[in-house]
Amino acid sequence: MLSQSIVDLVLERARAEGIRTVTRVVVAVGTAAGVDAEALRFCWDVVVEETPARGAELVIAAVPLQARCRSCRHEFEPAPVLAPCPACGRAGVELVRGRELRVTSFDGE
């Protein structure tokens, strides 16, 4: 479903740009976006079938986590799960980066 949203977004922009064939799509996927890269790739070939993005390469750029401690404001790159703050030891951190799911760019002609 997310791959469909990505293709819709790209094709809408491609039409506006007068691009008839999309050959490559670059997406930025945060580690905490809840998106499985393999699942995204798996669906990709199906959703681009019979569209101007047929056969387009999907490039997934992983965005690492960045968290900020709510208590002492220390910023750090947490382990895969939301770990306590390494500076003050308290739980309760907010993600400042790593949730994004963004279409960065695409190539076409």
Partner: protein
């Protein structure tokens, strides 16, 4: 038709306006007519916009909107049935049921005498804001009602899709692992309240409720935990108290 001419590097006037309107930039790529278009657009932005519109609409109607999420089988529907039987006489409720297939859950809710819309998501594993907007139009909840949205049983994808709810209620159960919060941190991190169901089974299962709460507070120190049994009724007064408090907040638009 191309907006820019790769041989001259000249951007046609109409193309310039076009590029500005799109807030994107195109430039000729290295090969032939292939070029790269910068997009930098959030894939979930459309859902977020619809969710924001939902939230405004809910606020105008002083509606308390709850998004119930859990693994399949944690007891969301049973919790709703019990809640509706106990408190739907005190103030109006409507329910939106999300499942991939069947209207089994909607029938169970309808048997409680509460208006319900079933959404079948088909191959989709979560509800989106537009589905909730459509269902609310059909249900037309009265002012001050509580709208309970039972999401598709899944602790992954529903975390990403804002429906416009006032509170996200994560239902966990003691027949699952007590490490669920750290296995699915992104869902538990977004919880406004965690309801731990099936606590009547605690004597028979290896689930450690203290460890569960410690794990939860590692990813979300603010969410209250309510230990309940939806079947037997344990702990439900605290849950009803929380609902009444949140409903009062929705009514004053805080």
């Amino acid at each position: 038709m191309r907006d820019s001419d790769p041989t001259s590097g000249v951007v046609h006037p109409h193309a310039e306006a076009h590029v500005q309107a799109d807030r994107g930039q195109s430039h000729p790529g290295p090969v032939g007519g292939v070029r790269t278009v910068r997009v930098e657009a959030d894939v979930l932005a459309k859902n977020d916009r619809i969710a924001a519109a939902n939230r405004e609409w809910f606020a105008r109607g002083e509606l308390l909107v709850l998004n119930l999420v859990s693994s399949p089988g944690a007891g969301k529907t049973t919790l709703l049935e019990r809640t509706l039987r106990d408190v739907a006489g005190a103030w109006p409720w409507v329910v939106i049921e999300g499942d991939q297939q069947t209207d089994n859950d909607a029938r169970r809710i309808a048997a409680c005498g509460v208006p319900v819309v079933q959404i079948n998501t088909g191959t989709m594993c979560h509800l989106e804001a537009q589905m909730v907007a459509d269902a609310c139009r059909r249900l037309d909840p009265p002012r001050g009602a509580t709208v309970a949205i039972e999401n598709v049983g899944n602790l992954v994808c529903p975390a990403m899709f804002d429906l416009g709810e006032a509170a996200r209620v994560v239902v966990a159960s003691v027949t699952e692992g007590d490490d669920k919060p750290v296995k699915y941190p992104y869902m538990f991190e977004t919880a406004d309240i965690v309801v731990l169901n099936k606590c009547d089974l605690l004597p028979y299962v290896p689930f450690d409720a203290e460890r569960f709460e410690a794990n939860l507070h590692d990813v979300n120190p603010d969410a209250p935990v309510m230990r309940i049994s939806a079947i037997r009724g344990d702990g439900l007064p605290a849950w009803y108290g929380w609902l009444a408090d949140r409903r009062a907040v929705a009514a004053i638009g805080a």
